[in-house]
Symmetry: C2
Subunit: 255 residues, 2 copies
DNA sequence: CCCTCTCACTGGCCTGACCAGTAAGCTCAC
DNA sequence: GTGAGCTTACTGGTCAGGCCAGTGAGAGGG
């Protein structure tokens, strides 16, 4: 190779990509805020100087990425949507589905995220946030009789309350995604379990112990308990041979 | 509400979405493997019974999601791409850019991921994996004189080696994404820093200390050092008022 | 056997058209 | 005046057909 300038590989840029970029940037910059409307397709055609199919390709991409939504017949044009983590969820689910991510890895990741969230919550929580958690636990307790859906909803609410208290939304988004992925892999087993009530009671017990540590502002304990309980709860779904990495995560009590 | 059946909200499904779904499923199921080719657009038109613009909209969506790539003139048709975390990175970057995710949260998240990876690596590593890490550190050391690009590449290689040893690819993918997001936010400052060599030396020092703990199989120490060093390195980019949650993460040495 | 050139076919892009929806604004009865 | 109903100008969804610049497998020449 001759010395001197280094060249980057170039790739032809499609017209529709240019349009996507422009609109994406306008949204990111804040020129287009959620709720605002894009001009109609035919109007965009004149503004971008491209044909309608090309403009439409761009809009379809934006739509599939959750940035806009267009309804047929709406005279106001496509709508800018508020940010949602749906795209992230989709991507992460795909990562799980066919990038050889095992159940053990998923649970390991949940243990890390959940443990960290609990630790941060224990150390940073306010009194209001604590009582918010207590309320969700109460709902869970009641929901054991009411039904699994209620219970599950309250469960999510608890983790959300913890996430809020941890002051870190990234944790919650990722945790939510991973949680969803785990559930989608074992949902059939849970749904058909004849001992669902027992499972719910066990889960409730776990959450209460974590809450106790958070109440006591004991970050290390909250993390340890959270991880330990997750492992107990899910260990049955992981083959014996893959449990090593999971045990390494609860192995906190070393000299 | 009358009791009985619960109905879900329905939304009209576009034709192009049906096509996207079918192809996505085929890929997820493994019917279409990376490297294989899709039929040509005109062939797909007849198979799906849709028009070319519609088929093209579907292909554009798949392309923008990183699932396929189509090159003009290629007689073999669009190519199925191997999985890449590019989509995830894009989504996460967007999350950071305009969902009120602060620099502090990003760094906090990195500390969690990196700390956990180091801990797992310390407890699970093999001898080969350890020496792989040592090699990347050596490269980093040499690269201080060679240049920042080399250094950065070796840096990535180190974290990758740690991730491999941690037996959890999710950690590494997420860490890589977050790392990229952080760098994209501060890259200008690093590039213009007049003391880049000093920064590199500091970074190298940090990595060496983590490596030492991993060598000693001391998981707790590896995690603690990793978090501490990340905080030291990046603290300057976080406003004083937002450092609370970060400090909570290194506050391990409690009674 | 290798090299070169051809050509059928590819994807990128465009024009123009039809249809089923939507909602603003008009009409009209009350 | 006011509300209900209808008209209408627009929207997005979809299609058919066409042109162009590329690509690469295979035909042909050396």
């Amino acid at each position: 190779m001759s010395d001197g300038a280094q060249f980057q590989q170039v790739s032809p840029v499609r017209l529709y990509q240019r349009i996507v970029e422009q609109i994406e940037q306008a949204i990111t910059r804040g020129d287009l805020k959620p709720g605002q409307r894009l001009p109609s397709e035919r109007e965009l055609v004149t503004q971008f100087g491209a044909s309608r199919p090309t403009v439409r390709e761009a809009l379809r991409v934006l739509e599939s990425n959750g940035l806009i939504r267009s309804r047929p017949g709406d005279p106001n044009g496509p709508e800018i949507l508020p940010f949602s983590s749906a795209g992230l969820t989709k991507e992460m689910t795909r990562l799980v589905q066919f990038d050889n991510v095992s159940m053990a890895e998923l649970i390991s990741f949940r243990m890390i995220l959940d443990g960290s969230a609990s630790m941060l919550a224990a150390r940073l929580r306010s009194e209001e946030e604590l009582s918010a958690m207590e309320r969700t636990i109460a709902v869970m307790s009641d929901a054991i009789e009411t039904g699994y859906d209620e219970f599950s909803k309250a469960d999510v609410a608890f983790h959300e309350a913890v996430a809020v208290a941890s002051r870190n939304s990234l944790i919650e988004v990722c945790n939510q995604v991973v949680r969803g992925a785990v559930l989608s892999l074992i949902s059939d087993k849970v749904a058909h379990a004849h001992n669902r009530k027992a499972l719910m009671r066990e889960s409730l017990q776990h959450h209460q112990e974590v809450l106790e540590a958070i109440r006591a502002r004991d970050g290390a304990a909250a993390a340890r308990i959270s991880r330990r309980k997750l492992l107990d709860y899910y260990a049955g779904y992981v083959p014996e041979s893959e449990q090593g990495p999971l045990l390494a995560l609860v192995d906190d009590e070393e000299p």
